[in-house]
Every structure is written in C-alpha cells, then in structure tokens.
C-alpha cells in the first residue's frame, strides 16, 4: 500500500519534483547489492555447530530464509521512508572472539537498582562482567549456556519458545539474526513469582566494522512479574551494525515491564525486532528510547492472544544531525476486552529524520477494545523531516479507538512565559525540549537510568541548540 506518486508537472512544484527525482534515484541505487547478503552471511560459516541439534536446525532454516527473503528497500511500503542503501554499501563481520573489556569501561552503564546484569561484548556473552545470582523464581542467564546443557531446567522451555514469535521467515534481518543464533539472554520468571527490581541486559559494541546479533528471550509464567532493561551501548565512535531480536512471552495474568535503550554510536546501524505475545489478563508495558545510531529501526509488535490484556507502549526518539530513527509498532488486538495505550515522541534537530508507523489492528470479534495512540513530533530545525503514519484497522464494531498525530514546534506561549521569567531564549527552548522528552524517560521506572538519560538529553539538546 502506498500513495500514488507525488504530483510532478509544474515548474513551481520543484519541492515535490526534487523529491520524486530523489525517490527515482534511490530506487535505482537502493537495490540491495547481492554483495551485502553474501558478506553479511559470510562469517556464519565460521560459526561452530551448536551442541543442540534443534539449534542447528533453526540456524539452517534461518540461513535458507536469509538467502531467499529480499532485503528491504524503499520500494517496500514498510521501508518507504528509511533508506538502507548506506548499510548495504558496508560490510560487517560478526566478532569471532570477544574483545577484552575492562570492568571500569562499563561502569558508566551500571544500573544501581539492578541486581542482575548480563553483559555482551560485540554480541558475545561476557561472564566475567556479568553478575547477580538469579533471584527467587527468576533466572537470568546466557542463552548459549542453556542450549549447551540439555539437562538445564530451562532447556526444554527455551526450545519450545525460541524463534516462535519472531520467526526467521518474518523478515531478512530476523533471518540473519537467527542464522547467527548462539549468544543471547534468557530471562525466565516462574509461576506467581514477582521480581520487581530490573534485570539489566547490556549489549556493548567495542569496535567498528563488527556486526552483532543480540538475542533476548523473556518468558513470564502465569501470574509472575518482571522488569527487563535491554540496553545497547557503544564504546567507540565508529560504524557497527546491531541486528537484535527480542521475544517476550507473557502468560496468563503475568506482567512484564520492558525498557529498551538504544544509545549506539552515531555512525552505527541498529535494526531491531521485538515481538511480544500477551496472554489472558496479562500486562505489557514498554518504554523504548532511541538516542544513538546513524540509522535505527525498531519493529515492535505486540499481539493480544486472549481477552482482557493491557498494553502500554511509550517511545522517545531524539535525533540530531545525520540521524534517522524509525519506529514501526504494531498492536494486534486478536481478542476481546483489550486495552492499549501508546505515546510516541520524537525530537528532531539538525538534518535529521524521524519515522513513526503505528499500526493498530482490531480483529473481528475483538469487541470492547479500547485503544488510544498518540504520535507527537517536535521539530527544532528547518532541515529536519518527520514521516508519521498512525494506522487504524478496525474489524469490530463495539470498540473505542482513537489516534492522533501532531507535528509542530515549541509552543510560543510557553516560550514567552519562560522569557518573561528572565530565562534566556536558548535555555528556555532547551528546557521545554527537555520537558517534552522527560515525560517519556520518567516512565522508565529505573531512577538512576532515567537520571542519566535525562542528563544525556540535556547535553544533546544543548549541543543541537548551539549554532552548528
């Protein structure tokens, strides 16, 4: 589905025409070079066979899919506004051996509130940096370890769940991730156990030119509660590529809070897929924050499997010069009595680009769905660009659904008020931008992390505010 091509016939319509030309040019150059596929899958052969036959099977099937599925281009409706040709021109290799990272290097990223932490260096599990015993009923451990031990008590559970929500057939990037399936994090909380302190999954890239394939599997059994913080950071300024897949299974009456922080280097590419299934009367709350990467894309899909669920998705993308942040969310109300709420905010400065596609589907029979979606976009630069597309698809009549999208600037009235209090224009603007962002950050529920991110937002808006 796409709109007909933009009008392009009159001299004065140069804006549209330029764009049409650009699109035509992109169409020519953005055909993914076969070389990219070859190079990205090249290091897969070097991957040692897994001790578990079913993992080898998963990888093999994924590899086949990765060869068959087309790499997305701007010809695909889902990628219309996000041009991956820059990624396709580069070659990234998976890390063969973990880089040595001293414990101090990760100090700035420690979360005081989180007793459990798993650290992955360039996609490889680093046990020496990880810590925290698994708490009561809560297991936070390495996926590779669970796979390697057939006697591990989670082995069969993991086998039954891995790759079911985000199958390799779902897209080229998920297929590539699955073809490299090895390291990853498993978070399992047993029936009726509540683990309210956050578990920190820290994914670090240390060098440029590397591709990493983070994998997270969260399983919350019936009546349980947990809080997971998925954190992607860079220790370098170069270009790396992160291709992450997260699957979250929430069983009856369970509750999961999921924070996703992406602060990769500003030359990196970050492509993530997060698939969530929510069972009867369960609850899923997610906060996604995108600050880094030259190009970031998050595909977040949440499926309501049974009646009575509650889904809350919050998102913030703060992008500056040269950055693109793309969020595609999909809330699938496949059963009755579901409630969903979504607030997605973007702040743009410099020549940046934000994309939001929020799809809400109410399937036949999903009566009494109550869904509200808001997309709010703040433009602070004349060179920035926003593409917002909230979508409602409704196949049931007794529902309450609303969505809204706004694109605008800092409110002149608010600015004037601050000026009248003697605050300098620049500071006033930064303060208002900060407030716009803090609204989302404050929903994280992890005080120290929120504090640090607010600080980062302040620094980033200051930088963007100063003449460049």
């Amino acid at each position: 589905m796409s709109m007909p091509p933009p009008v392009a016939q009159d001299d004065a319509q140069d804006d549209t025409r330029d764009e049409a030309r650009n699109e035509a040019r992109d169409a020519n150059t953005s055909a993914p070079p076969a070389a990219y596929r070859t190079s990205v899958l090249d290091s897969q052969r070097a991957l040692a066979g897994s001790p578990a036959a079913w993992v080898n099977q998963l990888r093999r099937e994924a590899l086949e899919q990765a060869h068959v599925l087309s790499l997305p281009t701007r010809q695909d409706e889902d990628w219309r506004f996000t041009d991956l040709s820059a990624l396709y021109r580069l070659a990234f290799k998976a890390a063969s051996a973990p880089a040595a990272v001293v414990a101090q290097a990760i100090d700035p990223y420690r979360i005081a509130e989180a007793p459990q932490r798993l650290v992955f260096i360039d996609g490889v599990y680093a046990p020496e940096l990880s810590e925290g015993p698994s708490g009561e009923g809560l297991t936070v451990c390495s996926l590779a370890q669970v796979i390697a031990e057939p006697s591990h008590r989670l082995h069969e559970t993991v086998r039954a769940h891995l790759g079911t929500l985000a199958p390799a057939s779902g897209g080229a990037f998920a297929a590539i991730n699955t073809a490299y399936l090895h390291h990853g994090a498993v978070l399992h909380v047993a029936r009726n156990q509540a683990q309210l302190t956050p578990s920190h999954l820290l994914f670090i890239t240390t060098r440029e030119g590397l591709a990493s394939y983070p994998r997270v599997l969260v399983i919350a059994e019936g009546g349980s509660q947990c809080h997971v913080v998925e954190d992607h950071v860079s220790l370098h300024q170069g270009a790396a590529c992160v291709n992450a897949v997260t699957e979250v299974h929430i069983e009856t009456n369970a509750q999961v809070r999921h924070a996703r922080i992406q602060r990769d280097s500003r030359s990196s590419f970050h492509i993530a897929r997060c698939a969530v299934s929510v069972a009867r009367d369960a609850r899923y709350e997610s906060v996604s924050i995108d600050l880094g990467a030259r190009l970031s894309r998050l595909d977040l899909s949440v499926r309501q499997e049974a009646p009575g669920v509650h889904i809350a998705l919050d998102g913030l993308a703060l992008v500056g010069n040269g950055q693109l942040a793309d969020t595609h969310s999909f809330i699938d109300h496949a059963a009755a009595n579901g409630a969903s709420r979504q607030l997605h905010k973007t702040i743009l400065s410099g020549a940046s680009h934000a994309v939001f596609n929020g799809r809400i589907l109410v399937r036949p029979g999903a009566q009494h769905t109550d869904s509200a979606q808001q997309s709010r976009n703040l433009l602070t630069s004349g060179r920035a660009r926003v593409d917002a597309k909230p979508q409602l698809e409704i196949h049931a009549d007794d529902v309450k659904c609303a969505h809204g999208a706004t694109v605008g600037q800092i409110d002149q009235g608010e600015l004037f008020y601050l000026l009248s209090r003697g605050i300098a224009p620049e500071a006033a603007r930064n303060l208002l931008t900060y407030g716009f962002a803090a609204d989302i950050i404050n929903r994280l529920g992890v005080a120290s992390l929120a504090q640090r991110l607010r600080q980062q937002v302040l620094e980033q808006t200051d930088r963007a505010g100063s003449p460049s």
Partner: protein, 478 residues
Amino acid sequence: MSSTLQDLIDQPYQHGFVTDIESDVVARGLNEDVIRLISAKKNEPDWLLEFRLSAYRHWLTMTAPEWATVDYPPIDFQSIAYYSAPKAKKKLASMDEVDPELLRTFEKLGVPIHEQKALAGVAVDVIFDSVSVTTTYKKRLAEAGVIFCSFSEAVQEHPELIRRYLGTVVASNDNYYAALNSAVFTDGSFCFIPRGVKCPMELSTYFRINTQESGQFERTLIVAEEGAQVSYLEGCTAPQFDTNQLHAAVVELVALERADIKYSTVQNWYAGDANGVGGIYNFVTKRGLCKGDHSRISWTQVETGSAITWKYPSCVLEGDHSVGEFYSVALTNHHQQADTGTKMVHLGRNTRSTIISKGISAGVSSNSYRGLVQIGPKASGARNYSQCDSMLIGDRCAANTFPYLRVMNDSSTVEHEATTSKIGADQLFYFASRGIDNESAVSMIINGFVKDVFTQLPMEFAVEASKLLGLKLEGSVG
C-alpha cells in the same frame, strides 16, 4: 436493534433501470486505432490526439496500483467499449428536440432539467453516456463571461484554453487510471471563470452511465482566473447492471490568485447487489491546484455508491496563503469497498488545509481513509488540521485509517485525529427513554455524525445527500 437496522440498510437501489436508446458504440478493445477513432469522431486537433497517444503509450508501461485496501478481479481493458454516444447526433436548440425517451429517464431520476432548475438557478450540463445533449443557461453565463460547456465543445470553441490548462494539474502519466483516462476520455465538462467574476449561479452536472460495459472516462477542467469564484456540483446515479463497469474520471481544478473553487460531489452509482455482484468501479483522480496566492479550493464529497471507490481529491497548495479543504462522507454497505481520502501538498508559505472525513461502514463492507499531508521545506507557517471519524454498524465490516504525515519544515503545524465509534446501545436507550423510536434515533445519530460535512454542501445538494443516506441506511429519513 439489529434487525430494524438491517431492514433499513437493505434498501434496494432505487435508480435501477436501463433506458432503451440505441447507442453509437465503438467496438470493444483498446489500441492506438481506437484512440485515433475517438479523436477523429470528436473532430479533435492534432495536439490533443498527440496528448492521448502519449498518455496511452505511457499507460502501456504502467501497472495497475495494488496498494489500496480494495479487492477486485483484474480488469480486462480489451473487453471495454471506449466510446458510446446517443444516436441523436445533431445539435439541439431546444428541449423539444431532445429524445423523449431520454427526457423520461431524467424524469425518473428526478433531474428537473427544465423550469424547476431554472427557478432553482442551476445550469445543468447533462452528460448522457459521454456526449452532452443539452446545456441550459449558457446564455446567462455567457453574459457574465463564464464559459460552461461540454469538454468536446470546449475543444472546438476554446482550444487555446484547453491546450493551456489540460494536464497541468493531473499529468497524463500521473497514475495508471489517469493515464488511461487521458488516452480515451470521451467527454466531460469545461468551466472557465474569467478574472474577477463571481459565477452568477451554481454550476451542476449530472453524470449518468447507461450503456452496459461502456466505461466512462470523464474529463473535467475548471479554471478560475484571478479573483474569480465558482461553486460546482456533480451528482451521479446509474442503472442496475450485472457486469462491473469501470469509471476512471479525471478532474482538474486551477485556481489563480485569490480565486475560489468549491467542488461538491454526491455519488450514488450502482454498488452491486447484496452479494457483491456487479457495481461500478470508481477509480477517479481529482486534484486542484491553488496556483495563485490567497486562492482556495474546497472539495466536498458524499460517496454512497460504487462497488469500489478509489478516489483522493487533492489540493496542491502552491500559492502563498492558499487554502485547501476536504470534507467527505463515505458510506459503504454490503460488499462495497471504499479507499478514499485526500492529499494536501503544501508548497507555499502560510498555506492552510483542513480535512474532515466521516466514514460509515455497514454489512461486510470495507471503508478506508487514506490521506497524505505533506509540508514542503519552503512551506513556512503551514497549518493542517485533519479529523477522520469512523462509524461501524455491525461486526463484520471494517474501518481503516491510513494517514501519512510528511513534514519537512519546522515552522509548520500538523495535527491529525481519528476516532471510531458505533451507535451504542446506551445512546439508543436514551432516545427510547425520551420516546424516540430506533429508526429516528439512528437517523439522528447518523445525521449528527455527518453534520460537519453536510453543512459544507450547497443547499439543494445537502437535501439530496440526506436523502441518499436515508435510502442507504435509514429508510424515510430526510
């Protein structure tokens, strides 16, 4: 409530009859010879033939769009007759010369082509299967300097105007169906309001599809010069057929500085029967260009018919301070599919646009709003407000909203809102407690739902539109 409502929904099509007039039909199929034949039959200048041929050649390279949320079997363009004209070929000086059979048809449709319309102050350019039969009030319009005639007549009498504006808003290669139309259009309306003239009456055209499987390819061009004002009405009905009919019209509006064009449509073509058999395919390209500063183009549409509607009346806001408006009510029932909306392309400074769209779906129909609001980098101070509401009647229909917002300027403001609702049992209960029966309650709720749009319609049209909604949904409600 559902059984009452179902009865109301299931009102049969009341305009279903076929007039038995011998038609002059070109053999089915499409190739360059057919296009040359159409052009020759209409005695067209060479440049227009060239326009058609280049559009046709481009069309051959295009593929039918598949992005819309509509579903239909592939169209065999070779099985369509591209030209049909009523036999009575000679120019008619008065109503007496019009084929009485044709007059009776209009009588049945309730088109008061003679005195009634004159008293109502409306000039009607009646299109009866592609060729204009008669035009009223031409003289009075001519006194004001307004040109309002059939497209073929305009090609003969005002070729310089047609040549200057044709294809400037919707290029002949704009999209698949616009290209097809540019190649084979048979007739349509042309309207020209010179500088500073306020059109003395509302202009109105009735389109009517008559010959089985003769796809209609209307071409409408309206040009309002500096400071001119016009309100244009278009209404459609069609007889009941089994075979799907293709309708691919193109409407182009050009508003120069401070000009104001208001374009209103009531569309009630045959939508197919209750099982989704038959019905018109309505694939229309409508676009207005606000070329001059302070110009304004306003689209109002009431879409109740057609098996498939694929229609996006759009505004290109090129002049500074220009204004674009889109008010729409789309009603789908049974197996109807509608994918409709608008595009507001803001290019000039301080341009403003408003979008109000109301979708009502019933039966197993599908009703989608698809819209684009684009603010170009130079459109400083641009402002858009969009509101898209859907109402669902029954649990087997679908209502979709696909708004695209593209903003490339930091001094502009874009707002979009969409809601979905139904006629709630609590609402009906409240009415019942006040002694108002379900039928009246439903009609009141629906009329309230669409009121924002109906107030934009010219008076006579608002009445007709209410009647149409009544036919489609509420029985006798007016």
